[in-house]
Symmetry: C2
Subunit: 120 residues, 2 copies
C-alpha cells in the first residue's frame, strides 16, 4: 500500500517537473522577444530592440508599466523612424494590472504592450 502511494507521489512529482519545464520554456521563448522598459535611458532600450531584430526575430514586444509607458512609446517611435525603417508597430494593447503594495493592499497600474514587426 505504501509502495503504491509512493509511486503515485513520484508520478505526481515527475508530472510537476514536466509542467515546470514546459512553463519555463514558454516563458523563455516569450522573454527572448520581449523588451521590458525600466528606469534606464531610452536609448538603452532602443538598442535592446535592435539587438532582438538583428538576432533574427521578426516580431518583438515592448512592455512597460506606469510612468515607463511614455518611454515605451518613445522606444518604438525612435526604432522605426531612426534605426530600422523596415520596422513598424503592428499592435498596441493596454491593460490594468493589480500590484500588491507594502501594506498588503493592492494598487492598480496601467500597462502597455507594443508589438513591432520587421518587414525584411
Amino acid at each position: 500500500m505504501t509502495k503504491i502511494v509512493n509511486n503515485t507521489y513520484k508520478i505526481e512529482l515527475l508530472r510537476k517537473q514536466d509542467t515546470k519545464n514546459k512553463n519555463e520554456k514558454v516563458k523563455n521563448m516569450d522573454d527572448e522577444n520581449t523588451v521590458f522598459i525600466g528606469s534606464k535611458e531610452t536609448m538603452n532600450y532602443v538598442m535592446a530592440v535592435m539587438e532582438q531584430f538583428n538576432r533574427g526575430s521578426d516580431e518583438i514586444v515592448i512592455k512597460a508599466r506606469g510612468r515607463a509607458i511614455s518611454k515605451a512609446v518613445d522606444v518604438a517611435e525612435i526604432t522605426k523612424n531612426r534605426f530600422l525603417e523596415t520596422s513598424e508597430i503592428t499592435d498596441i494593447m493596454t491593460e490594468t494590472e493589480e500590484l500588491e503594495d507594502e501594506g498588503g493592499g493592492t494598487t492598480n497600474v496601467s500597462s502597455i504592450e507594443i508589438t513591432m514587426k520587421n518587414n525584411k
Copy 2:
C-alpha cells in the same frame, strides 16, 4: 473696371470667409470629441471623458504628448474599468511630432491617440 475688381475681391473675401467657417466647424467638431491630456490630475481627464460620453458622443479620442502619454493610458483604463463598463478602447495610434524649440531648432516628441467607444 474698378468695380469689377472690387466685386472679384468681395467674392474672394466671401469665399475665404466661407472656407474659414467650414474649417472652424470641422475643428470644433473634432475638438468636441477630443480630450487633450495635460498637467492636471488624472481624474480631471476621466471626468472630461465621461462628460463627452454623457453628452451623447459614442466615440471620443484621448490625445497626449511626451510624458503625458502614461496619463492618457491611465485615463482610458480608469474610464473603462471603473466608470463606464460599456466603453472600450477601439484603437491606439502613436506618432512622432516635430516641435520647434526656443533656439529655432526642432525637437521630436512622441504622441498617442487613444480612441474609445461607448457601446450603449
